[in-house]
């Protein structure tokens, strides 16, 4: 079996300019921040970041935004990161705001091989603009497309060397979905264990979704 273990430096060296990256986390809870820190050491730029929120200035994806590495941010809110708001206003960073339930379902659909789905969320609002609307049994739904990315950064609490992942409490959030929807998925493993050490009934993300494992992210 080929080892999935990789160093942070070797992993981030694979990320080209213009890459799209799903970064899990909810106000930075569940974000594989050490991988972001490693990216700050490189010249990579023009990234599209898909993340629930913009975090805070100087924290999580906020670091990539501060460093001017993000060309486009796809998120559900940016309210606690004034830097992101400023860059959006002065148009130095494109921001696409998507309802949180729609964003996560787009990612789920992307990983599950679906072209999209119908949701009642956003009907009659700006979100509906430019999108097809379908009526099913008398109720209106927006047709939302699925979403995929080149890379996904996952934070795992217990990870075995095959790549099976267990999360911890609310760090789970977008992690299991993003793990399914990107071409190159890396998990930052807080606790790396031997294959067979995790009860298969407890595994949340099956190993086939994980391409690379980086040890780190200790609390």
């Amino acid at each position: 079996m080929k080892s999935k273990l990789i160093s942070k430096a070797d992993f981030v060296a694979m990320i080209p300019d213009g890459a799209s990256i799903m970064v899990s986390g909810f106000m930075n809870v569940g974000t594989a921040e050490e991988i972001i820190d490693e990216m700050l050491k490189t010249d990579v730029r023009d990234l599209t970041i898909i993340c629930n929120d913009a975090g805070f200035p100087g924290v999580g994806v906020g670091k990539l935004i501060d460093a001017g590495k993000v060309k486009k941010l796809i998120a559900s809110h940016i309210g606690l990161n004034p830097v992101a708001g400023q860059k959006m206003t002065e148009q130095s960073m494109e921001v696409e705001l998507i309802p949180q339930g729609t964003l996560v379902e787009q990612i789920r659909a992307g990983g599950a091989g679906l072209g999209g789905f119908l949701t009642p969320t956003g009907i009659g609002t700006i979100v509906e603009q430019g999108k097809p609307v379908m009526e099913v049994d008398g109720k209106k739904y927006i047709v939302e497309k699925s979403l995929k990315a080149d890379f996904a950064f996952i934070l795992g609490h217990i990870v075995d060397k095959k790549g099976n992942v267990i999360y911890s409490k609310t760090i789970r959030n977008f992690n299991p979905l993003m793990a399914t929807a990107a071409d190159h998925v890396v998990v930052l493993a807080r606790n790396l264990v031997e294959i067979g050490d995790i009860n298969p009934d407890m595994i949340v993300t099956p190993h086939i979704f994980i391409d690379y494992i980086i040890e780190g992210g200790k609390q």
Binding site: G79, P99, P176
Partner: protein, 214 residues
């Protein structure tokens, strides 16, 4: 009693035994402090848990256990964690009985605007659009005015967060229900007159035949 506490205490009385409830960040979060402890209420947090408990004591924070604002919380016994897709399945799927949110504007059709002030403030909608369309009952808990300007309008002037989804508005001046005829004033805060509340409300209030003190 300060206005926020008055609002939170009144909203808490709307919660029924067995309800699944999502509280927004800020004033709505305070509602949990005033719920009748004899009731079995399950609080949902959209970042992925059922069984949200009170804030932890100082120095007992667990930074893996947070609410939708990223602040440390606790979990009540029997609680459960899940991913964001499951969380929004719960929300959109009609499995949340009551959601309590703050707002910038609400109008007499039950439209709500609370996610953007074009050119000025772009916080984003977060989970609000999903909660508004998915929850069985939507309660807006907010201060009645903003810098003395009415927030309860004939028609929202800011971009909608959802259309015709609000059921009830609770402010420090009174309690209102959205009906097909307009906004029905059902309760007045102590010491507040009908004239007082109408003067700071752009929409014309319909006065309930059973108007009570809040």
């Amino acid at each position: 009693m300060n206005p926020k506490e008055l609002i939170a205490r009144r909203v808490a009385k709307e919660l029924k035994d067995g309800d699944v409830v999502n509280l927004g960040i800020g004033l709505p979060t305070m509602v949990a402090n005033y719920v009748d402890p004899s009731l079995d209420i399950t609080f949902q947090s959209e970042n992925g848990m059922l069984g949200l408990g009170p804030a932890p004591e100082k120095d007992h924070e667990d930074f893996d256990l947070t609410n939708a604002g990223g602040s440390p919380v606790t979990m009540s016994i029997g609680g459960v964690f899940f991913d964001s897709a499951t969380s929004f399945g719960i929300i959109r799927g009609g499995h949340v009985d009551v959601t309590v949110l703050g707002s910038l504007q609400v109008d007499e059709e039950g439209n709500i605007a609370n996610w953007i002030i074009p050119g000025k403030m772009v916080p984003g909608m977060g989970g609000a659009m999903d909660l508004l369309v998915g929850a069985k009952k939507v309660i807006v808990a907010m201060q009645h005015t903003s810098k003395d300007k009415p927030k309860i309008l004939k028609k929202c002037t800011l971009p909608f967060t959802a259309v015709k989804e609000v059921d009830m508005i609770v402010t420090e001046l009174g309690v209102m229900e959205i009906t097909s005829e307009g906004i029905l004033l059902t309760e007045l805060a102590p010491g507040v007159s009908i004239e007082d509340i109408q003067n700071v409300t752009e929409a014309k209030l319909i006065i309930s035949d059973h108007l009570k003190v809040m």
